[in-house]
């Protein structure tokens, strides 16, 4: 097998993964997808490291990838704990909820109006014929329910 060619091809794949992860981390607003993108960047680096290790006939590349796996596991655990904590406060996975952490002199984030997706018409849930006497409604419970 052409060793230099193999290394070059692997480095291209690693570069593409890192670039795609960068784009995803910059542009997506869902916190989970942002962390998926960060993991993708780590994968790109891992691919490059393994290729270099093979090229130089050295175990250092693979050992470093094992440490990358360790760090990725730690990162995922802490990130998920943070996401769950943030979700309990804000009720959504939108990172834009935290735009009030900005500096004082920056303008507030204005959400863009987007058209509703076609085919996402409101559902018509089935109804039952009322029978018996209607119980008293507890409006307090209906309106103060948690989001999920």
């Amino acid at each position: 097998m052409n060793e230099v060619g193999l290394l070059e091809n692997y480095l291209l794949v690693g570069a593409l993964l890192v670039g795609l992860g960068l784009i995803g981390f910059f542009s997506r607003r869902n916190m989970i997808v942002m962390f998926l993108s960060a993991e993708m960047m780590l994968q790109g680096v891992s691919v490059s490291l393994v290729a270099w290790g093979r090229y130089h006939n050295d175990w250092g590349g693979q050992a470093l990838v094992i440490f990358i796996l360790t760090v990725a596991a730690c990162e995922a655990a802490i990130a998920l704990a943070l996401v769950v904590a943030i979700y309990q406060r804000s009720g959504s996975l939108d990172i834009a909820f935290w735009h009030d952490l900005r500096e004082d002199n920056l303008p507030a984030y204005a959400d863009q109006e987007i058209p509703e997706v076609a085919g996402e018409t409101p559902h018509h849930w089935p109804t039952l014929t009322p029978s018996g006497t209607e119980p008293e409604h507890n409006t307090e419970e209906e309106t103060h329910r948690a989001m999920v």
Binding site: E8, S27, N30, Y55, V65, C74, V84
Partner: protein
């Protein structure tokens, strides 16, 4: 490098088309142009691949091409799809492709570890949180991106710099192309030999022993940190002030819970 050479270089056009295609693919609110973005992205990936050398025989080239295509296309889908659950599943496919690439390099342990640790543990936990938090899908913040054109240009610029450096290093234009290509390393040795795990473990626990200890400490600290964060959030949960904060406009446009609708219909 002159302007003429730059224009005739397929990598330049690959980088430009990559930016345009990813911008068209990213969720922008409008659904127009998705297929066009996919075609443009695939063309740009083909342009990137056209400058890469063949691997010798057709079997290894075909295997590598298939695995690389699976990895990269699944990665594109991961960052561009609107439904986060589909994002996670495409990311799992990308991880499988990466594991195959590791196997092709002869690092069997890393291939298996990637599948077990990433796809088996981390990704399933992500999916678990996703299902817990957002069972309805189609949230408005999934259909919009931050500054999609700018981030697409930034990422494509980075890919362009890396690939230009790659081609410049490995295929230099003139005289000194003896640097990389002809350095002969003895590759009959250990990394492709048998007893893979024995060698890898031996390296790990001799040359990288301190790093292994540090990694263990890091795992412990991360675990303690997780417990601390969750305990903190739990103690905070009862306070009503935290929940009454004003939510951004996008969150208020989410569809209502079906339970409430059913309750209204009953009334």
């Amino acid at each position: 490098m002159t302007l003429d050479a730059l224009v005739r270089n397929p990598l330049t056009w690959g980088t430009l088309l990559f930016a345009v295609g990813i911008w068209l693919l990213l969720p922008r609110g409008a659904t127009r142009g998705w297929w066009l973005g996919l075609v443009i992205t695939l063309v740009s990936l083909g342009l990137f691949a056209s400058r890469m050398p063949a691997l010798g025989d057709w079997a290894s080239t075909g295997t590598f091409g298939f695995l690389a295509a699976v990895t990269v296309i699944a990665a594109v889908m991961t960052i561009t799809l609107k439904n986060p659950v589909y994002c996670a599943i495409w990311f799992a496919l990308s991880l499988l492709g990466t594991a195959g690439l590791f196997m092709l390099q002869g690092s069997q342990f890393l291939g298996v570890a990637t599948i077990v640790v990433y796809a088996g543990a981390i990704l399933v936990t992500f999916l678990f949180v996703l299902m817990l938090a957002n069972p309805e899908g189609h949230a408005s913040y999934d259909r919009l991106s931050w500054e999609a054109p700018l981030s697409a240009i930034t990422g494509a610029f980075m890919v362009g710099v890396l690939t230009f450096a790659l081609v410049g290093v490995f295929n230099p234009p003139d005289a000194f192309d003896t640097k990389f290509s002809t350095v002969e390393i003895d590759r009959t040795g250990e990394i492709l030999a048998g007893e893979h795990m024995a060698h890898l473990g031996g390296q790990l626990f001799s040359r990288h022993l301190v790093a292994v200890e540090l990694a263990g400490t890091l795992l412990l600290v991360a675990m303690v940190g997780c417990v601390a964060i969750v305990a903190e959030a739990k103690s905070r949960r009862g306070q009503p002030a935290s929940r009454k904060r004003q939510r951004p406009k996008s969150a208020s446009r989410e569809p209502q819970r079906p339970e409430l609708r059913a309750g209204e219909a009953l009334r």
